[in-house]
Symmetry: C2
Subunit: 141 residues, 2 copies
Amino acid sequence: MRAALGLAASYPATVSAQTLADAQGMPRKFLEAVLADLRRAGLVQGVRGAEGGYLLRQPPDQITVGSVLRAVDGPLAGVRGMRPEETAYEGTAAHLSELWVAVRSAVRGVVDEVTLAQLVSGRLPARVRKLTATPDAWLPR
Amino acid sequence: MRAALGLAASYPATVSAQTLADAQGMPRKFLEAVLADLRRAGLVQGVRGAEGGYLLRQPPDQITVGSVLRAVDGPLAGVRGMRPEETAYEGTAAHLSELWVAVRSAVRGVVDEVTLAQLVSGRLPARVRKLTATPDAWLPR
DNA sequence: ATCGTTCCTATTGAACAGGTAGGGAATATC
DNA sequence: GATATTCCCTACCTGTTCAATAGGAACGAT
């Protein structure tokens, strides 16, 4: 996410991995591995050579947080290695799949509605800001 | 979750680990490890001896899915080993913490609202059922 | 030709998930 | 009191993932 946000802030200019790494205080080589994931997912384009770097392939207001997370972490919600709708349970646990689907749906409601542009500017959608509004949301539990 | 649901369905009778394991098709020893977590969290009570077993310490309609998940998996939403509100980011990534808190809040909205009793009966709260209602919710993405 | 880049492959170390194994401690029933 | 049942404790194993490290080949602007 930090890599994607760095690129979003400079869009459409290219940014080198080194610059990005320095800005976020992380190893360049580690960042390169993440950027490779983003590139393979088609979110980012690499430009080789001096004055090269990386840039987003779409404007920051058209890339969702969800697509970034899926690019690097795979499917959002996994249950014992399976996707929620692939799970099946016996007897008293029969309705568990519905629960997992509901959880995934709730997560999607956040990450698929927030764009990189919104996150850089801090202007999150009203529905999302509502989730962070109650003081309870910031407390452990 | 399967262990908790098995106990909820038989509440307030005790159920042996072996019975529970057979019903859900999982190794008894593995199940015992899970039940130990639930016991240490105060959700479950063990009764030793012949005719012993495990039982919930509260009625199934007073135990939430969230408390079960936290008992065995620890905090619901972790970001690089930290809780969402403990994260801090530099520069363009500054607003990331709000995103993580929103995600956790969305998850809590499901797991802290659903009880074991509801899950056994399949009667999930309206707000939760709404999340599973759209056909999209059951599709990968 | 040279320098700054991306890009590829391989490796490490620590932590975790899921599962295995043996045996001690408690208790109901006979 | 013996016995069977069951919880409970400690330790171990194996594979996978996460985060990071390392070296160097391919590429492109100057």
